[in-house]
């Protein structure tokens, strides 16, 4: 290649083709970060409030830790089960944690589509937007948890776009849903949130 370089370099002005470092989409990244924070805290709250979420986490192994985030550089949300089986939102730092399951959305644009509810989580899985590192059944259990949390967090009009199938009245009564919604919101935005943010800074 060096021999070509000598002859071609005379005709090729390499500085005309500069190296281009990747840019940053700060607003989209910030939005996804906030959404992951809210969903993370809501998962912690839902595990105490909603029976089906409690059961799904109950079936997962002890000290199970997973993350959901955007490849390659984040943002992330890390959630783990402690020895007593309590589910905790552990923040956005992956460093120094033993992760059992990693769910990476392939790129920020795909994550933005998922978190602006243009695509449901199940649809994004089907479109191959996720990279799963770990046990696939456990990953699908996490997706089910996210679906349930989104049903509780979001109004029906938006939640229908975000989940695979919105539950009927017979499956989830409106009274229970609204009661759980209030409890999840209260628990998510409790002073514990400030503690988690402080711990991750």
């Amino acid at each position: 290649m060096k021999s070509i370089s000598k002859s071609v370099n005379k005709t090729l002005n390499i500085s005309r083709y500069p190296e281009i470092p990747p840019g940053t989409k700060l607003i989209k990244k910030g939005y996804v970060f906030v959404m992951l924070l809210i969903v993370g805290r809501a998962i912690e709250a839902a595990s105490k409030v909603d029976q089906s979420v409690k059961k799904i986490f109950g079936d997962l192994p002890e000290r199970f830790t997973f993350y959901l985030g955007v490849a390659p550089g984040g943002p992330y949300m890390v959630i783990g089960k402690d020895k007593q089986g309590n589910v905790k939102y552990l923040g956005w730092n992956l460093y120094g944690r033993k992760i059992d399951l990693g769910l990476d959305i392939k790129n920020l644009e795909s994550a933005f589509k998922v978190f602006t509810f243009q695509e449901s989580t199940a649809q994004a899985f089907a479109y191959d937007r996720f990279i799963v590192e770990g046990n696939l059944p456990q990953a699908l259990a996490v997706v089910r948890v996210i679906d349930i949390v989104e049903i509780h967090l979001l109004p029906k009009v938006i939640a229908r776009l975000a989940v695979k199938r919105y539950p009927k009245w017979s499956e989830l009564s409106p009274v229970k849903k609204h009661l759980n919604r209030v409890r999840i919101y209260l628990k998510s935005f409790s002073p514990g949130l400030i503690k988690v943010i402080y711990r991750n800074l």
Binding site: M1, T11, P18, G23, K25, G73
Partner: protein, 385 residues
């Protein structure tokens, strides 16, 4: 009867749809590459496609080694060498080609040079085929295509090279990139797609995989060709046509070269007129000639071009003929964009004969110069119409 003895090779992973461009860094990472060189055409950078690609790399951690945008409408060895030097100087480890035809050819030629660490590209054309896997190569079809980008053949300085190593590793179909610049460009790309598909359908060695790719290609084209030519910048239909192009291209890469393709390529070299024009002119006569010679194509052509309703309505004996008619009707959608008669191109007879001789002397071409001349004669008589 099912054919269980066949060979079909297709290397590229095809990613189509929303956020397809943004998946390139992941595809590169899966090929252990992190710094691609982008090779594209002047026309594409003028249309701002390079900026779209740069935006797609945001937050990916992958820097672009540079955007080499010197390609116009001819793939030459000097361009491939320049791209190879830029690749080496910048320490790149993959190539991304944005555009069709010459862009993809130059990118793959540059990939041959950098992967084999050589300066002699013509050693590969002179009987010493590429002997190892090339650096990761990602192709993004944009604007006009000549139908060979998704396959295994490149043409550099009017010399052809075919090798399984030349397949792209990934093909990214994104609606932000596939819109055609003009109606004529859309029509020409559609014609090469249709020719590739019919070549695969008419190939003597049927294989279910090849038929499936050709079927999907014709199906996409049948649904979107008319609208894609009428509104070349329509993103949905241009993406459908790009899908058709890729599928038909892969099918054709696994079939023997068609008579129209060989003749059109040689005439393009000699006259400088785009091959799509010759495909439009020769296909009706060539289909009639092929039907006489090897029998009518199977029912699949009707199913692909006409859809299930037309297929079910047509009596079994009439399906092959109806399939050819439907296919020719699809070609007629390009009317007004592409010349329809050979006489309107004012090509001297000796040049036509020369093209036939050149096509017939190709090693991989299963037709003789007389066959090509016969098709030209039939075309001049208005055969197949």
């Amino acid at each position: 009867m099912q054919n269980l003895h066949y060979e079909f090779y297709s290397q590229p992973k095809i990613t189509s749809g929303a956020c397809a461009l943004e998946s390139i860094p992941t595809e590169l990472a899966s090929n252990d590459a992190h710094k691609p060189l982008v090779i594209t055409g002047r026309e594409h950078t003028r249309r701002g496609l390079d900026k779209t690609l740069i935006r797609a790399f945001a937050d990916s951690g992958c820097p672009l080694g540079g955007i080499f945008d010197e390609i116009r409408d001819y793939a030459g060895i000097s361009l491939a060498r320049q791209a190879a030097v830029l690749f080496a100087e910048r320490g790149c480890d993959a190539i991304v080609a944005v555009g069709g035809g010459p862009v993809a050819d130059v990118a793959r030629a540059a990939n041959l040079l950098v992967s084999h660490d050589t300066q002699d590209l013509f050693q590969f054309f002179n009987g010493s085929p590429p002997g190892k896997r090339l650096k990761p190569f990602i192709h993004i079809p944009a604007c006009c295509t000549n139908g060979s980008e998704s396959g295994k053949t490149i043409t550099v300085d009017n010399r052809r090279l075919t090798s399984n190593f030349l397949y792209p590793d990934a093909i990214i179909l994104d609606k932000r990139m596939t819109a055609a610049c003009t109606r004529r460009c859309a029509a020409q790309s559609a014609l090469t797609t249709m020719d590739n598909a019919v070549t695969a359908f008419l190939d003597g060695e049927h294989s279910p995989m090849k038929d499936a790719f050709a079927h999907a290609g014709v199906g996409f084209a049948a649904a979107s060709l008319k609208k894609a030519i009428k509104r070349p910048k329509n993103r949905k239909h241009s993406l459908a046509m790009a899908n058709a192009g890729v599928m038909a291209g892969i099918a054709a890469a696994n079939a023997a070269p068609g008579v129209v393709r060989g003749l059109a390529e040689e005439l393009e070299k000699i006259t400088g007129i785009a091959r799509g024009v010759f495909i439009r002119i020769f296909t009706p006569a060539a289909l009639a000639w092929m039907t006489q010679k090897t029998g009518p194509p199977g029912d699949d052509l009707l199913l692909a071009a006409g859809g299930m309703a037309v297929y079910a309505k047509t009596p079994e004996q009439q399906r092959p003929q109806k399939g050819v008619e439907m296919f020719l009707a699809l070609l007629d959608e390009t009317r007004g964009q592409i010349p329809e008669t050979l006489s309107s191109l004012h090509i001297p007879a000796y040049r036509l004969e020369k093209a036939c001789v050149h096509a017939g002397s190709r090693k991989d071409f299963p037709f003789s110069p007389q066959d090509c001349l016969e098709i030209i004669k039939q075309t001049q008589k208005g055969g197949g119409r």
